[in-house]
């Protein structure tokens, strides 16, 4: 549903987005992952025709954004929950948006009900908490009953209840067959929400894969083995050219899967007490892959090393 090809955005000498090409499918939640400053928001603004790409295009259902007739009926977006006039009521905010795309006024009350803001609809939006603003932003995104939904960091600053609500909500939207594209720098959040991932760093595409593939490919898969005959097993493994690390009562084996280790142990007559594949976390995978593409390094690592050396 969303096709980005060769998308590039340059601000002066900074290349915010560099030749980015990816596609986002319908019926799934696709995560847009990257460290802060990777170009996620810029990419999303270009999708909505707010920023003009230096080169490249984004097509939504085959059309450029400005070619869409009554675009709120095709694409709903929540880029920043604070993009509301603080003295305008939530209802009035949705009313003018609805009017602009000939969406019936009754739809305003429907979406307010969906996000649970009916009771405060007449209150000024400036007095809303972050969670309420976020809900209003989602109501605005849903206004035109769009097939494509874009959310930029929707769970930022929300309490656990709010996070859970948004996560379930996005999954429901995807189940309804919509295209849901959600950006985040929170990896654990994406692991729970998204089935596909588009990962960028420093404005460049790092990976487009399913969440599982991404983690599997990135994290080095290891197997933990416990055995009363540890030295014998160790010798067998080393001779089969697996890398072995001692971990107290157990061995951590890499470069060999659990099936192979089990067969090896059986043929050598070694008793196993544990044989468990260890999967890397999304955080580890992410750090490993984007580690060298973080825009603003903290210098913390260097400081830690210096302190350690001084001791």
């Amino acid at each position: 549903m969303i096709e980005a090809s060769g998308l590039t955005k340059r601000y002066g000498s900074t290349l915010a987005v560099n030749n980015l090409s990816f596609s986002v499918a319908a019926g799934k939640v696709t995560g847009f992952l990257g460290p802060n400053g990777a170009g996620k928001s810029t990419t999303m603004r270009m999708m909505l025709g707010l920023d003009n790409p230096t080169s490249g295009t984004v097509r939504i259902g085959g059309k450029l954004y400005h070619e869409l007739k009554e675009p709120l009926r095709t694409v709903g977006a929540l880029l920043d929950a604070k993009w509301v006039h603080p003295n305008r009521s939530a209802r009035a905010h949705l009313q003018w948006m609805a009017r602009s795309n000939r969406i019936p006024a009754s739809r305003v009350d429907e979406v307010l009900d969906t996000v649970g803001l009916t009771s405060v609809a007449g209150k000024r939006a400036g007095g809303f908490s972050l969670g309420m603003s976020q809900r209003l932003g989602i109501a605005a995104a849903l206004l035109g009953d769009p097939e494509v939904l874009l959310f930029d960091e929707p769970v930022n600053g929300l309490d656990p209840e709010g996070i859970l609500w948004i996560r379930k909500f996005m999954q429901r939207l995807a189940v309804e067959g919509r295209t849901v594209f959600v950006s985040s720098h929170l990896l654990s959040e994406m692991a729970l929400t998204a089935t596909d991932l588009v990962v960028i760093g420093k404005g460049q595409l790092i990976s487009q894969a399913t969440t599982e593939e991404f983690v599997a490919r990135a994290a080095e898969n290891t197997v933990k083995v416990r055995s009363p005959q540890l030295p014998a097993l160790r010798a067998q493994l080393v001779s089969a050219s697996a890398q072995v690390t001692d971990a107290g009562e157990a061995l951590i084996v890499s470069g060999m899967d659990s099936d192979k280790i089990g067969e090896l142990a059986a043929s050598a007559g070694v008793v196993l007490h544990e044989l468990s594949p260890q999967t890397g976390s999304l955080e580890q995978a992410f750090m490993q892959i984007t580690g060298d593409s973080v825009e603003y390094h903290t210098g913390l690592d260097a400081a830690v090393q210096q302190t350690a050396a001084a001791r």
Partner: protein
């Protein structure tokens, strides 16, 4: 029409336009009451005298108009607007038209209110609307307000920041046009072509006195003066739209 309705909803669902409208009317009309009640019994009040408050009214109108666009930039709703209406030119034209129409109405209420107050307080001073010049002097105020509002929307679009746009507009209207006259030799020639001076020329007939009592020195005819002022507004708005289209929102 849809876009006009959108801008109407946006304008009237915040408080500042209501306050600005009220203040503009009170200033425009109230000044007439002040002049009428303080004028010595021997002098006759002219229609132009009753309309002198519009110079303050116009400043408030420009605040209203500039804020209508700068607050959109300030609060990010301009992005929502352009997201809903990707054709930025249409969205901005709709805003300018709605703000101009509101300013027209405010101007007419203020101007006729001023005339009415003057007439009520000084019934003996022949403040009758019995010539086209008198009519234009009163009814023209709303028209000038409307084009002034378009100028302010254009400047607001270009500058995007409330403080910057307002200070530029107010300093220009209240000071710069008059100070230009102080430039040796060419100052007066330039002043003749300054848009707000030309707008005053439209309100007051040939050889007549400006609302403040001074003669407007513009050289165009009455109709030409209005066309010139309107032209300045339209050109500025066109430039603003051109810039807004190119810029990242």
């Amino acid at each position: 029409m849809t876009l006009l309705a959108v801008e109407r909803i946006k304008l009237f669902t915040t408080r500042s336009p209501w306050w600005c409208a009220l203040i503009a009317i009170v200033l425009t009309a109230g000044f007439a009451a002040l002049m009428a009640s303080s004028a010595p019994a021997g002098e006759t009040l002219s229609i132009a005298n009753t309309q002198s408050g519009h110079q303050f009214g116009i400043a408030v109108i420009m605040v209203l108009a500039a804020l209508s666009i700068t607050t959109e930039y300030r609060f990010g709703t301009i992005r929502t607007t352009f997201q809903a209406v990707p054709h930025r030119g249409s969205a901005l034209i709709a805003k300018a038209v709605v703000v101009a129409l509101l300013s027209l109405v405010i101007g007419e209420i203020g101007a006729f209110g001023a005339w009415g107050l003057g007439y009520a307080i000084r019934p003996s001073d022949s403040l009758l609307l019995n010539s086209s010049a008198a009519w234009i002097n009163v009814a023209g105020v709303g028209v000038v307000f409307a084009f002034a509002a378009i100028i302010a929307v254009a400047v607001g679009t270009l500058i995007r920041h409330s403080a910057g746009a307002l200070s530029l507009l107010l300093i220009y209207v209240l000071a710069v046009e008059n100070l230009v006259q102080l430039i040796p030799s060419i100052g007066r020639k330039i002043h003749e072509w300054m848009p707000f001076n030309v707008a005053e020329r439209f309100l007051t007939t040939a050889g007549g006195r400006g609302p403040g009592g001074e003669a407007s020195d513009a050289v165009l005819s009455q109709g030409g003066s209005l066309a010139y002022f309107a032209g300045v507004a339209v050109v500025l708005m066109a430039i603003a739209i051109g810039v807004a289209k190119k810029r990242d929102a």
